[in-house]
């Protein structure tokens, strides 16, 4: 569900060009300006990569193509550092044989400035992350791209960009980040395009035959999101509390006619701590998901409120060999109301438990990285595994191969619904 937002992109590109040429225009004397125009232009660092990636499904999926990814991608990454701040532009052009389309994805277009000693400001399109989970998110309510994640793009693409203003304030007491997104930025969620999924209305798996139609909140300033984090480091134990006011990031409701999925109102309050424990790093995070459109839990069309808990531990268990274990619980509140009001179809359990295990081993002077990330849910009885082998042939060239493996006892569970999307992929990337 990429949204090119072409106009916004063009604007940002023009804006980028204008911004970096500002210092040159500021020179009043014409002759001097001519002479020094090029020397006055700020230095622009130009980087990026070219990548080819191919992947296939290992199981027949009657709703999707056999090809899971067949992509050529070019990323251009421009940055410039001026006296008053930094300007950044990063965009991808890619062509894909699965969708038979070429597309542009503007990843970043922003200005960073430090107007006061106690304040940082970042305005524009940006990638945002906070929280302590490893591929599990509670208080990080910035948009994710689940489609990219499941079809085997680089892990960088799990984070979709936000069009936002980030204000950071620093003090001895604590630090505060506030992110304001004037128009709701949803996840790039599983819509049936490229990835088949469980459609509860149809009572079966579906895909390209039943693309999800959404009614997305999209009014500027009225359908906005605000996220805040107050954090403090005490003897290298990192404490944080979080707040969010906005919408469920992936569809979590339907209209009464059940023809469109909705993004109901959501408020989240949470906290986390992270720090050294024994030989490793431990993290703890909780969040209360207040589903504001269904506070009693009676509306079966809207997701119930939840409590979410995460505890994790990472440790080096051998030479260049690291293991990370996490335990995650999603607990539905008002479960009795949910059961009472549920129409026909399989009911969810009250609690969803997920265990994740990450294993990473570096070999051959750290040029070869073998990793496996596994999600396992004992309550849903489903599994998602992400094996990956990545080799750096040279400083510029890297090759990789990996898989996204789903299995489960039931068709309707979180990972079980994706079982026909199990795929393998390979890629080659030249960075410059």
């Amino acid at each position: 569900m990429t949204q090119p937002k072409t106009a916004a992109t063009l604007l940002s590109a023009m804006w980028f060009a204008a911004a970096i040429s500002l210092p040159a225009e500021a020179v009043s004397d014409n002759a001097k300006a001519k002479r020094s125009f090029f020397s006055n232009l700020p230095e622009v660092e130009i980087h990026g990569f070219y990548e080819m990636r191919a992947g296939y499904r290992l199981r027949k999926d009657r709703y999707e193509k056999d090809m899971s990814i067949m992509e050529n991608r070019f990323q251009l990454d421009l940055s410039s550092y001026l006296d008053w701040g930094d300007i950044k532009f990063k965009g991808d052009v890619f062509g894909d044989l699965v969708t038979e389309q070429a597309d542009f994805d503007l990843r970043e277009a922003n200005i960073f400035t430090r107007p006061f000693d106690f304040m940082d400001l970042k305005v524009g399109r940006q990638v945002l992350t906070w929280g302590t989970g490893d591929l599990v998110f509670i208080n990080d309510l910035f948009p994710k791209d689940w489609q990219s994640f499941f079809i085997g793009r680089d892990a960088e693409y799990l984070k979709a960009p936000s069009d936002a203003v980030k204000v950071s304030l620093f003090s001895d007491f604590a630090n505060l980040d506030v992110v304001y997104t004037p128009q709701f930025d949803p996840d790039r969620f599983i819509s049936g395009e490229r990835i088949s999924y469980w459609n509860s209305n149809l009572g079966r798996l579906a895909g390209e035959d039943a693309i999800i139609h959404t009614d997305k909140p999209n009014r500027w300033f009225r359908d906005s999101e605000i996220a805040a984090r107050l954090y403090k480091n005490i003897k290298n134990y990192e404490f944080a509390i979080y707040g969010y006011r906005g919408f469920w990031k992936s569809p979590s409701g339907q209209n009464a006619a059940m023809t469109q999925v909705l993004f109901p109102d959501l408020n989240v309050y949470g906290a986390s701590v992270r720090g050294a424990l024994g030989k490793g790093i431990a993290n703890l995070e909780i969040g209360y998901y207040d589903s504001a459109d269904d506070q009693g839990g009676k509306d079966f069309l809207v997701e119930n409120s939840q409590m979410r808990y995460l505890v994790g531990y990472t440790q080096e268990i051998g030479r260049d060999f690291t293991a990370g274990l996490q335990f995650y619980v999603e607990q539905m509140l008002d479960y009795r109301q949910y059961k009472r009001n549920l129409p026909a179809g399989p009911a969810k359990d009250r609690d969803r438990h997920v265990v994740t295990l990450r294993l990473t081993k570096l070999l051959m002077n750290q040029n070869l990285r073998c990793s496996l990330f596994t999600y396992f849910s004992p309550t849903d009885k489903d599994v998602y595994m992400r094996p990956n082998v990545h080799y750096k042939v040279s400083d510029n060239l890297a090759v990789e191969a990996g898989a996204n493996i789903f299995f489960g006892d039931y068709q309707h569970t979180f990972f079980g619904q994706f079982r026909n999307n199990t795929n393998i992929y390979t890629g080659i990337r030249y960075s410059f």
Binding site: D120, T129, F170, N233, L362, N365, Q366
Partner: protein, 270 residues
Amino acid sequence: MKAICIITFVLVFSLPIFAADEPNSATEIPDINIIVNKANFVAYYQGNDGKARVKMTITSKQGQTREREFIILRRDDQDGGDQKYFVYFHKPVDVRKMVYMVHKHAQLQKDDDRWLYLPALDLVKRIAAGDKRTSFVGSDFLYEDVSGRSLEEDTHELVDVNDFLFVVKNVPKNPDTVEFGYYNVAIDRTNFVPMKMKFFDKQGKLHRVIESRKVEVIQDFPTVVKSIVSDLKTGNKTEMEFSDVKYNIGLDEDMFTERYLRRPPREAMR
């Protein structure tokens, strides 16, 4: 990633050398504890802070080369005590703008605190303490070469003295925790700069050599600006060159916090 290790090494070799008040006369030989303490001080704790641009060239036995380029900032909390390091990567390009930060703790039983910032994800990652005898960023330098090995880990013995050098033999107190049997360090008598380190395996065979190839005086501090490590077992070599070395630049303690991980100080970027 293991990039952490490099920092310490860089620090050690880039730090100002202890300037002895008077040149030692050939006959005057200080106590072994004074020698190792001075060398350790020179290697890791000169100046209140420092900055260097580091270029590493890793050459395999087959002649294939890989490059690392980064800027390292160091600040001492107190001389001989805790330190903070900030490493901003310029090369290779796939890790460009990545930041590795260490709060190094001098106490033996306390592990260092380490962070990694991945700019493409805007992710601040905490890294678990690791085996200090593993490679730093895939080079032949080990974490401990970079971050320093506590004097308390080894016993020290002065095994040779000539007109220019003290040679100190260091034997680990816990041999099971390291891959070597012992190592000898040749220390310049005039400025206490470690000039050559030879590591011998448990059978007593030489397997690893670190040499200071070029020493310059910067802001009155003798500074190793080029060093080479040779791994005699694998046949690989790593050369490390320092440029733009500056001492006492007034780095603020705040520069070693999450704020600057997410947006590095200008000092680290160029």
